[in-house]
């Protein structure tokens, strides 16, 4: 096990290249906004951005001109409404897209993670998505003669996975909504881990069943507290719902969007500066009181 600790700036510089397919993981939780902002600051272009729910992170990256294409299963501003920038770019024909249902999207990652050439799913009777996306195919079940729907593996060039705690090697504990964090890490060719806390290996090894990602699939470990704001990290800070509502307004106007980007992405050096800039009122608002898990006994064998 090697120490892979580096700054997020270094990790993005080394591992994210123009034209790559990126999977910034996190189903409504642990969304690595800081990594998205760093990619914007480093000016990457022609990326294919894959995520079940593009969320504001991809809206911002599309607005910054990083993306050529988007792969998704739901483009909305969660709990608010439309994801305006992605939507506008698609409607204007300026952004390629490839579309799935949630289950198909996670099945693609599962196939990639498992080294399988496809994953089967039961048919849903709704034929239109299958009709417009040639990646959906069918296979005959050799036992019943009935058909199943298949999707091919998704194997991103880079997965960016935010976690609660990791050791310097990249063994990661994740809890709360775990979405597709594990599958994205195993499916990708390169994995950048961002962590709220870097902990001693002994903390990880005290609860091996909590380790969803083992060190050897990880290429870089970055200590990035508050990485997920305005999304959240279970147990560390709350979702900033006010910002999700605010983005709905900002993203209505390209000028406002660029102004926001100047101030909050280009205008700050890194996540530490961003978090400080948010100010104490926001820190207080997003603070969460502790609620600890009941420990389990592994036994000293």
């Amino acid at each position: 096990m090697t120490n892979k600790l580096c700054s997020l700036n270094e990790a993005i510089a080394q591992f994210v290249h123009d034209g790559d397919t990126i999977y910034a993981a996190g189903f409504t939780h642990l969304i690595p906004f800081a990594a998205g902002h760093e990619i914007i600051r480093q000016g990457r272009r022609n990326l294919t951005l894959a995520r079940a729910t593009p969320d504001l992170i991809y809206d911002q990256m599309v607005a910054a001109g990083c993306a050529r294409k988007i792969i998704f299963s739901y483009i909305g501003n969660p709990g608010v409404g439309s994801l305006r920038i992605v939507r506008t770019e698609i409607e204007a024909g300026r952004l390629e897209w490839e579309e799935y249902s949630h289950f198909s999207m996670i099945s693609r990652l599962q196939a990639g993670a498992a080294g399988l050439p496809f994953m089967p799913m039961n048919p849903t009777a709704a034929g239109d998505l299958e009709r417009v996306n040639p990646n959906y195919r069918r296979v005959t079940d050799p036992y019943t003669g009935r058909e199943v729907v298949t999707v091919p593996p998704l194997t991103p060039d880079v997965a960016i996975v935010h976690v609660q705690r990791a050791d310097v090697h990249g063994n990661a504990h994740i809890w709360g909504i775990i979405g597709e964090q594990k599958e994205a890490a195993f499916a990708a060719k390169t994995v950048i881990l961002t962590a709220e806390e870097i902990v001693d290996e002994a903390v990880i090894r005290s609860d091996p069943n909590r380790t969803l990602i083992p060190d050897f699939v990880v290429d870089a470990v970055c200590h990035v507290p508050y990485c997920a704001h305005p999304s959240y990290t279970q147990g560390y800070y709350d979702r900033d719902n006010a910002f999700y509502l605010e983005w709905d307004k900002i993203s209505e106007s390209p000028e406002e969007t660029q102004r926001w980007m100047e101030e909050w992405v280009y205008g700050v050096k890194d996540r530490t500066e961003y978090w400080q800039k948010l100010g104490e009122e926001t820190h207080r608002r997003l603070h969460v009181r502790p609620r600890l898990s009941h420990p389990v006994n592994y036994g000293d064998y």
């Binding site: 739901y74 969660p78 409607e91 579309e99 039961n122 048919p123 849903t124 009777a125 709704a126 909504i177």
Partner: protein, 254 residues
């Protein structure tokens, strides 16, 4: 008694739930309907969220399906692959709530595009979990305002399956779920007839069949015995307003 259209729809949706139902629930009105049902006639309802949360006990009103309040104190939290395969595809979900920009005569739903798929006039959010929920939940319910543009005879794009071209066509596909069981609108309730066509089976107090017909994009038929729903009770309104959505985030306005 005064109530908003959202309150009326939520209360009528809640009444469709049965005690012990395992409900695949989104945020917004379906979430409120489930919580209302749990506090009235269905204390053993189990709420499952597509984010992977089972048996949530939110201590505040969740503002997104990923709200951390859904996780703290829940029975179980699993990954996205498991929630869609072991729970939904396997058949452990009794009820799914669906919504969309268009619902057609046979309960098919469009949440994808208005216009041509490849050159969309309006790009909508897309399937999310709804393609599979509509297919595999035992029963589906739809909550939507009653407007003509939302009820075309045919949807522009079938994001999720209702009865396709009729009940027999859905049955021939072999999907396990029984399809849409009711559409709750601000005017009344539509249910599928023996062919899977949505017909008006109940009107809310004060609403008329003509209003419903005017706001429907196909020649709407009424059930032989058109019922009138019970008006919201004081207790139902009190729970909604005081306990579940005290700030009126979802229930105020319309």
């Amino acid at each position: 008694m005064n109530y908003t259209a959202s309150e009326l729809m939520t209360i009528n949706a809640a009444r469709l739930l049965r005690d012990g139902d395992r409900v695949f629930v989104g945020v917004g009105l379906p979430n409120l309907a489930c919580n209302l049902a749990m506090r009235t006639h269905a204390p053993h309802l189990v709420m499952i969220y597509e984010a992977g949360v089972i048996g949530a006990r939110p201590s505040r009103l969740p503002l997104s399906i990923g709200d951390p309040t859904l996780v703290s104190g829940a029975c179980s939290v699993v990954g996205m692959y498991d929630i869609f395969s072991l729970y939904l595809q396997r058949g452990y979900v009794d009820v799914g709530f669906l919504g969309g920009a268009q619902i057609d005569q046979y309960g098919n739903i469009n949440a994808t595009v208005i216009g041509d798929y490849h050159r969309p006039k309006v790009r909508l959010p897309g399937s999310g979990g709804s393609m599979e929920i509509a297919a595999w939940a035992n029963r589906c319910y739809i909550i939507t305002p009653h407007q003509k543009r939302r009820f075309p005879a045919r949807v522009d794009f079938r994001t999720s399956a209702g009865f396709l071209g009729g009940r027999a066509e859905r049955e021939a596909t072999g999907v396990r779920g029984k399809g849409p069981q009711a559409v709750v609108t601000n005017l009344g309730i539509l249910e599928p007839d023996e062919n899977g066509e949505l017909i008006l089976t109940a009107l809310h107090p004060g609403a008329t069949f003509e209003q419903a017909q005017e706001n429907t994009g196909w020649p709407l038929r009424a059930a032989p015995r058109l019922l009138t729903t019970e008006p919201p009770t004081a207790e139902e309104l009190r729970i909604l307003r005081e306990e579940l959505d005290p700030q009126g985030i979802y229930l105020k306005g319309s």
